[in-house]
Structures are given as C-alpha cells and as structure tokens.
Symmetry: C2
Subunit: 109 residues, 2 copies
C-alpha cells in the first residue's frame, strides 16, 4: 500500500501491445526508474498478461506532479514511440483517489 | 474506450493471487457478468500476469452505483472469499476520473 492518505492522484494507463519488442522493455523499465525520481511520485502498479494486455497505474501527490512528469523530455519521447510503434491501442485516465483500503501490497516500483 | 465523458468513477483493484483455483476463475467470471448488469456500470478492464499479480479497474457512473454494487449479496460473499482464500494481498482504491483520452480499446466486459 502507498503510505499517503487520500486524496492523491492516479494515472490509469491501459494498453494492448503490438508484436515485437522494438526497445519496449528497456524503455518501460527506464520510464519506471525516471518516474520514481520525479517529485510527487507515490508509487506504481503494473501488470501485463501473456496476450499483451496491460494496466499500469501510477500514483501522484498532485495534478501538478503529473503535469511535470508529462513534460519530462524522455517521457514525452517514449509516449510518442508508444503511439507510433508499441501500442495497438491505449487509454489514459487521470483520476483523484478519494478512498483507499486493503492489505499490504509490495510496491513494484 | 468508455463512451461516457468524465467525470465518472473508477474502482482500482490490485491483487496478488494465492496458489490454487478454489473456484476463483468461475467466481471472477460470474462477478464480471453480475457487475455488468448493475445500474451505472460503464465498463471494466482486467489483467493478470503469470506471477498472479492482477489489476482490475471497473468504471461507474456515480459513487452511488459503486455503493450499490458493494451491497450486492453475491459480490459481498465473493469479497469475503477473496480476503480469506484467493488473495495474498490486495488494495482497493475509489477514484473520480477527471480526464480520459486515448485510442479505442475493446471493452473486455
């Protein structure tokens, strides 16, 4: 679980991968590392199944922190490659988390 | 993509499965079917990887629709089995989606 108490913010990224790696795995790993260093980053959960369907949810202190991450140059370049090459389809949703509960989940970030 | 324009609501359910099925797959399928019939249900995205890590995000018109689904008797029973038997760890987050964009994603629901 993320230690922070709501409200905080979530970016829900759902995607379906195209075939072939094309630097995807290395870039995805680099993006997680970069995001983790951003001010206001709270944590990340990411799952992809064998069919190439993935959901990644990143958590942030504020909408300003999300906007800063969006402006990061390497992240901007990665998003462009994602649209052009890696993803057959994707959706992004920005949401305000109002309530959170559960057991401990190790942060994959 | 979900046709509805924000704001709408998301329930982000992250979990790690225990070993063994114990009626999990059949119940999960039944819950998706049941949820889809609830008033205010907008859609669902669900991914689980080979290691048993899963993220399911369900989308709802209102917080009242989420509360109604939470009170559904079969769903309540499934949640109890989930805590007792199926999940090594889980977290639930209720969030208000303020912005959404992307390409078309087939709804898995």
């Amino acid at each position: 679980m993320i230690a922070t108490t709501p409200p905080y913010y979530a970016v829900i990224f759902s995607s379906r991968r195209n075939d072939g790696d094309h630097d995807y795995a290395a870039t995805a790993e680099a993006m997680v590392r970069l995001a983790s260093q951003q001010a206001g980053f709270l944590g990340l959960e990411s799952v992809r199944d064998a069919d190439g369907n993935g959901i990644t949810v990143s958590y942030w202190e504020s909408e300003a922190a999300i906007a800063d991450w969006r402006r990061n140059a390497e992240h901007t370049q990665a998003r462009q490659r994602g649209r052009a090459q890696w993803y057959a389809a994707f959706s992004v949703r920005v949401a305000r988390v109002d309530r959170a509960y559960g057991t401990e989940l190790a942060s994959p970030a």
